[in-house]
Amino acid sequence: MPHISDGDLNAWLDGALLEGSDERKAVRLHVDSCTDCADRLEEARELREAARGILASAIPNGTAPNFADIQQRATAGGADSPDSGGGRWRLGWLSAQRLGWAATVVLALGAGWIGRAVLEEKGWTDPFHEGQAPAASAVEQAPPEAGARFFADEGSSSDAEVGESVQRQDRPPEENELARKEDAVAGAEGLAAELKVGGEVDREQGPADEAAERERDAADTPRRLGALAQTEGPVEERLAEIDGIAAPAAEPGADDFRSKSVQPAGDPWHALPGERLAGDAVQAAGCYRLEFGWSPGVGYLPGTLDLTATEADDWAGQSVYGVEIPGDAQTRLHEAIWTAPSRDSIWIRLVTGDDRSAFTVRAERSGDDWTGEARVLTPGSPVSRGQTRGAVLLVRTLCQRP
């Protein structure tokens, strides 16, 4: 009798041969009498278990949401007949294009980055969400209802288009491509409205964020008081130490300001580029959504980053321009400048007012947008390491200046 094929051996191992069938009996009988096949069966069994084990080491985190939530989402969008056609197919989350992400480019996170590291022991300082990694702070700033409302918003518009996933398989590739392009156009056309939606979300974050912060502080009070009782010295300094917050640096003079910007200590990556364009630089001026991929997740800057064509006061004559950030973030910045080493590259640096952490972006042109890298330089960690570096994306958007 010929030997058993690898396919049948694996089917046997997987229980895919019908119990009591001739094939199953034949495999059993042959394996019992053929040492070669018995060895191959054993090897196949080992490979099967090894493959199972390997795959088991790539299990995603997270738990299933309540089924009721899924049901709610399914019913929220109204009627959606499987037979209905005509509309464009679109993923629910792809309708985030309507929130201004139509032209969003990828944050090319290195594979080793994604979810890999968490905050450094001391934590890096984000100019927008100090003391927090972007992902965490983004979560903190996003009230639960924002997510719910987000889904509700997208449900109302995209659910009517949802039923076409199966139909899409049968579409010619060129038709799918056309649909994609139409989606992009639709996203761009809705930009103004999208920004308004984004603004509403941002405005609603304030109270929720503050409440959450108060709650955390209250929960942490016993620990802080206990630690305070065991230390001596000025209360503010002791609290700062307990909370792991670096004491504010002394207000620098103009010379300090400039020297730091020209060549921050430790990491020359943050140094002002030697080549700087003057008139051409303003071509990149405009408003952008700033998004950055950071270990362990994705961060964002609420609102827009406005690269103005106005030379920054402290940098007169050096082809360095000002950056405006609406809202509270601007007031917390000590320095906000940008420049252009070339037509196709820009360089942005934001320095926090608290501890002079520098957040530097170097980006290259990608159509109307810019992609590149961002790094953070903190006084406690004067070299940008893995946890303080990430991919950055600047998506050009509409300016809504007052």
Binding site: D22, S57, N61, G62, P82, L94, L107, G112, E291
Partner: protein, 183 residues
């Protein structure tokens, strides 16, 4: 002859009373997320796609729940993988689990990520067809279902799985050896 599944559980064809979607959800959500995760390699995205798949399933109420779920999920994941320009998402979609993740021990997280990366690299060494069959098998689909999903002959599933398992294990071991060399 291959096993013809006894289609009594809710994952298979619905009865005259309709599909018990709550049961389907409970029994298959994790498998679906795992399957999607190994195609898109982003946890949040895998969860989103799985939820989107179920939302659609509830609206369509297909006759064969599991086949439909995986068919839609594969399409969503393929669209994702094909996107040359990938999109990051709005803040509201950054999940609360991120904050949980931040709180985890850094070293453990790093090790886990390294393991995941090794699996990803090993899987990428497989052909698309072999990888798909392997992941569908790992998600718990029967040979019949895998054949239905992939268009392969049922009799070819065992052979494909045999090859895919061997290559996965070899690729993974090669990487481990490589890492050990440079440690």
């Amino acid at each position: 002859m291959y096993v013809q599944e006894a289609r009594k559980d809710p994952l298979y064809a619905r009865s005259g009373l309709g599909t018990d979607w709550a049961a389907v959800y409970e029994t298959s959500y994790e498998d679906l997320v795992r399957f999607l995760y190994r195609m898109v390699w982003e946890e949040d995205r895998a969860h989103d796609l799985a939820q989107e798949t179920f939302v659609r399933a509830l609206r369509h109420d297909p006759d064969e729940p599991r086949a439909w779920l995986y068919s839609v999920a594969r399409n969503l994941a393929r669209d994702e993988a094909r996107s040359v320009v990938r999109r990051r998402r709005h803040l509201a979609l950054i999940r609360v689990e991120e904050s949980d993740r931040v709180a985890e021990d850094a070293e453990q997280e790093m090790e886990r990520e390294e393991r995941r990366h090794a699996v990803r690299v090993a899987l990428e060494r497989l052909s698309e067809r072999d990888r798909e069959v392997l992941l569908l098998w790992d998600a718990g689909l029967s040979y019949d279902e895998i054949a239905e999903q992939t268009g392969l002959a049922r009799g070819a599933i065992g052979t494909t799985l045999s090859r895919a398992r061997r290559r996965l294990v070899q690729a993974h071991r090669t990487r481990e050896d490589h890492d050990a060399t440079y440690l």
